[in-house]
């Protein structure tokens, strides 16, 4: 397999047959003799202070190697957000703290020779707590009467507003044009709030990590991460272990979706392994993944808009209130993305305001999650667009076409709002949203919209949603790669980019393959080992294909020139006379051909010996957005309130799809995650703030029987600045499911829902009320 060369082809993932055969190791498949098991002891209260802790009895438990808590570990503040340095997330977290801020917050870490021993020891730790009054309501977090979560020392690492005294983890506002005038001049207005709920990534592989010291005393961390280089840096800075003594290795990863962009377990495993000089494994149970790892941020998004009856939108004011949970991981950047990835889409609106606040509550901690705020923003935005369309009597698609950004155009939002700070101005090189809308409309049968049919208790409706995302964070995200040639004309391709199951190893090899005209199978890809691969920020922000891909493109081009120059020297001809062919150069004048293999043999053994190798880096100066139109056809049972999604169509402009099969997989995986987030996924909390459904049996994600008929179309598009014309596709497709279903529900029943998930009870209740009037 993979005898083929180049991009634009649906080649199997390089690792897929080995994954199917069960021979590719994941983190838990690495073992070291005598590995100890680490177990976190979580807080039984949502908000409490430890008044006394006694671990002496627990330490006597046979098999216990060590117990760590706030008394014997560093007090240094950090953030678990695996972001660039300095991180835009506040430093509000310690390895262990005497203040526990949510149910399950870390009290202690027990390290023992078996899980059973660690669990026995956990029962023998004696802790007295002083209970504090918790707050679970994001709307009340800033009230003075509400208890303050974070102390004087919590701080932001970059100059941004941060007011822990008001439980404010982040705040931002931009104001373009004159919204007040826009509202005054508009003929019509709307004002609605929309809320999206907590959610878990549910990667099939739970978070896990193995740390040990090697024969030279260095710390080796094998971990299920999206961000190996950030893991190394954060361990180094937090634990004061010299950076050069740390090696972080990423094996195969069992899914991430943002959940593994968090440096959650590694510092703990590293602490114990470095201290005890023994291998230590720390692995979350599925229950812990739900309760103590990271989540999608709950967000309330209010949109006020003023518009004319011809569909001209004069002003739009978006106000986002986000629940950071107990710690502010990604509290600023997810918040800003709710505006930054949404508002440029309708660049014809002259007056735009965006303001947002992230607040602390005593609930699970938010973090990065596929879509990263855009999901929450687009849920509100697309319903508002549908309401405007209904009020004006304009078709949704026509209204979108009237307002959306086009190729060659810009939006002031790009410059005003980046990830947590000012952004980078850009004009679009590519935008095929219009084609996406037209093809999607044809595929779903859009003409039937507004003619909702009824059969028994079932009402049928159609709805649409549109969105854009980005391709990496411009001027911040950096990817690098290096390559060297071997005697057979194969290449080692070392990537900092972190394949977490997305297929990036394959897509990046396809890029190099196309440049060098070498079959994909002759690239020996190594991704993400801080000792042996160059730096890359990691797998997030829809950056890998575009940012890391551009690094690979540059690197392969450099390699090609090196090979050309060596070929010319060996053949004793001018470089200009050489023509690149498959794995070789042809000297056109003489007809002589020299293969890459011959060049490698010459340079390694015979003449002007040199390892032909090179490296390259890339940081985007822009972040070309992919575009997407999504369409849902649903049945609503008006007796039970059950929504069934019958068909779901996604039409994407992701630039040129470098591997259409894998691009489709990214879209459909995100769609199904989006569908189950819209309909069934939900954190249920009791009144003490404890999640009551922390299992895959009780927290419902879609299985094979739940999926609708899916149609996925990738329209032809080409992004000049992208490698071989590509933009991103990893996140965008999660955004449209909830609003498309909501708009379809309106089409079917005249009812609107303002919060997800659309449970049968919620739908049924809405059906008992009067129809919504736009």
């Amino acid at each position: 397999m993979n005898h083929e060369t180049g991009t634009g082809k649906s080649l199997p993932k390089l690792d897929s047959l080995a994954l199917a055969a069960g021979t590719e190791p994941f983190c838990d498949d690495f073992d070291r003799p005598g590995t100890l098991t680490a177990l976190q002891v979580g807080s039984p209260h949502a908000f409490a202070e430890i008044t006394s802790i006694d671990t002496r009895e627990a330490e006597q438990e046979p098999g216990v190697a060590a117990i760590y808590d706030y008394r014997n570990t560093t007090e240094r503040l950090y953030t678990t957000a695996g972001q660039g340095f300095p991180e835009p997330s506040p430093y509000d977290c310690r390895l262990f703290s005497p203040t526990l801020r949510f149910y399950g917050d870390r009290v202690a870490l027990i390290v023992a020779n078996s899980e059973a021993a660690a669990r026995r020891a956990a029962k023998r730790i004696r802790v007295d707590y002083k209970l504090l009054e918790p707050n679970f309501d994001l709307h009340r977090a800033e009230e003075r009467a509400t208890g303050r979560l974070h102390g004087e020392d919590a701080h932001a690492a970059i100059p941004v507003p941060y007011r822990p005294e008001d439980n404010l983890a982040a705040e931002l506002a931009i104001d373009i044009g004159d919204c007040r005038r826009g509202f005054d001049e508009a003929e019509e207005s709307l004002d609605h709030s929309f809320t999206m709920q907590y959610a878990s990534h549910c990667a099939m592989e739970p978070h896990t990590c193995l740390a040990y010291t090697d024969g030279r005393g260095r710390l080796i961390v094998i971990t299920a991460t999206q961000v190996p280089f950030h893991v190394r840096r954060i361990i180094h800075r937090l634990l004061e272990i010299p950076l050069h003594q740390i090696r972080v290795i990423k094996p195969r990863i069992g899914g991430g979706f943002g959940g593994k962009q968090e440096v959650l377990l590694e510092p703990l495993a590293a602490l114990a392994a470095w201290d005890l000089k023994k291998p230590v494994r720390l692995r979350l149970t599925r229950r812990e993944v739900f309760t103590v790892s990271r989540t999608r941020h709950e967000m309330a998004c209010r949109i006020r808009t003023g518009f004319d009856r011809d569909g001209t939108i004069r002003a739009l004011d978006m106000e986002a209130l986000m629940n950071a949970g107990a710690y502010g991981s990604h509290a600023l950047t997810v918040l800003s993305n709710a505006g930054a990835k949404v508002l440029p889409l309708f660049n014809k609106i002259p007056n735009i305001r965006f303001s947002g606040r992230s607040v602390y509550t005593n609930l699970p901690v938010g973090g990065a999650y596929r879509g990263y705020g855009a999901t929450q923003g687009y849920f509100a935005f697309n319903q508002i667009v549908d309401m405007i369309a209904c009020r004006c009597g304009i078709d949704f698609i026509d209204l979108v076409k009237q307002n959306h950004i086009r190729r060659g155009e810009t939006s002031p939002i790009f410059e005003a709002l980046g990830e947590g700070k000012e952004g980078v101005s850009q004009s679009l090189n590519s935008c095929a949203l219009e084609e996406c809308l037209d093809q999607g409309a044809a595929a779903i049968g859009w003409k039937r919209k507004g003619k909702s049919s009824a059969e028994g208790p079932k009402r049928r409706g159609i709805g649409a949603a549109v969105c854009m995302q980005g391709s990496g964070i411009p001027l911040i995200d950096m990817g690098a790669c290096s390559m060297k040639i071997n005697e057979d004309g194969s290449f080692n391709l070392s990537l900092g980019a972190t394949d977490i199951g997305t297929g990036s190893d394959t897509v990046l090899a396809q890029i190099a393959s196309e440049v060098l005209m070498v079959p994909v199978e002759k690239f020996i890809v190594r991704s993400s080992d801080t000792d042996t691969t160059p730096f890359d920020v990691g797998a997030y922000a829809s950056s890998t294909t575009y940012v890391s891909g551009n690094a690979v493109l540059r690197c392969a081009e450099t390699m090609k020139e090196k090979l050309r120059s060596a070929a010319a020297a060996i053949l004793q001809v001018p470089e200009s006379g050489l023509c690149a062919g498959e794995e070789s150069f042809l000297h056109e004048e003489s007809g002589r051909i020299i293969s890459y293999s011959e060049i490698a043999y010459q340079r390694l053994y015979s003449s002007a010996q040199e390892q032909l190798e090179c490296s390259a880096s890339y940081t985007g100066t822009e972040s070309p957005p992919p575009f997407l139109a999504q369409f849902a056809e649903i049945d609503v049972d008006i007796e039970t309130g059950v929504i069934t999604v019958l068909r779901f169509v996604s039409v994407a402009d992701c630039g040129r799809a470098l591997n259409p099969m894998l691009a489709r997989g990214q879209i459909e995986g995100a769609v199904v995650n989006g569908l189950s987030y819209a309909l069934t996924e939900e954190y249920l909390f009791n009144k003490e703030g404890r999640m009551t459904n922390p299992s895959l049996g009780q927290y419902k994600i879609f299985n094979t029987l739940d999926i609708p008929e899916m149609e996925t179309i990738i329209v032809p598009s080409h992004e000049e600045s992208g490698p071989m014309g590509a933009k991103s596709i990893g996140e965008i497709a999660i955004n449209g499911a909830a609003p498309a279903i909501a708009n379809a529900l309106y089409d079917a029943t005249g009812r609107r829902l303002f919060s997800t998930p659309f449970t049968p009870e919620k739908v049924w209740r809405a059906l008992q009320e009067a129809p919504f009037e736009a």
Binding site: M1, S10, P12, K13, D15, S16, L17, A18, L19, A20, A21, G22, T23, E24, P25, F26, D28, D29, G34, N113, S114, H201, C202, A203, M204, E205, P206, R252, I253, G254, G255, F257, T285, R286, I500, G501, T502, G503, M661, L662, R664, G665, I667, E668, G669, A670, V671, V672, N673, S695, L696, G697, I701, F702, N703, T704, L705, I707, M710, T712
Partner: protein, 168 residues
């Protein structure tokens, strides 16, 4: 540090007899992984995700829900017993070639469950594939390409091509 176990038995794993030691509370999943069968993954330990699916006497089970002590004498088949990297089963090839694999963590369980389906129903329709795989969660693919993979493998196995793979 050598662990001591209360029980000892001989298992037949992928056709090979293996003596394994375990405690009364140990599951088949624990014993398989301890015996080096790391192709069997662990995702929830509650029988809710299906990534640990193996065949027990030819039937798919969540190995995290089976006590090792109850296995006695019965044949256990993991994905490695269905085909290998060198000699893959059509299902393994089809999953790779049709985008049925992204992260691959659920894949061994999915292939085992699909294998059991095709043994019983050599030519399944999409609904039958969906029903057979409803206990095997996947968060990456959205399932569509997995269903296509199983359908394609069934077609390959029917098309008269010599069947590859070890079989059970």
């Amino acid at each position: 540090m050598k662990q001591e176990f209360a029980m000892k038995d001989t298992f037949v794993i992928n056709g090979e007899r293996k003596t394994v030691e375990f405690d009364a509370a140990d599951t088949l999943l624990t014993v398989l992984r301890r015996a080096g069968h790391t192709e069997v993954h662990s995702g929830c330990d509650r029988g809710e995700c299906g990534v640990c699916t193996v065949l027990l006497s030819g039937k798919p089970v969540n190995s995290c829900q089976v006590f090792a002590a109850s296995v006695r004498g019965r044949a256990v088949t993991t994905v490695k017993g269905i085909g290998t990297l060198e000699n893959p089963h059509p299902l393994q090839k089809a999953f790779a070639e049709h985008g049925g694999i992204q992260c691959g963590f659920c894949t061994p369980g999915k292939i085992v469950a699909s294998y059991a389906l095709l043994e019983k129903t050599p030519n399944p329709g999409d609904e039958e594939i969906k029903r057979a795989l409803d206990g095997n969660l996947c968060r990456c693919t959205g399932y569509s390409q997995i269903i296509e993979s199983v359908r394609s493998a069934a077609e390959t196995m029917h098309s008269g091509e010599p069947e590859e793979g070890g079989g059970v």
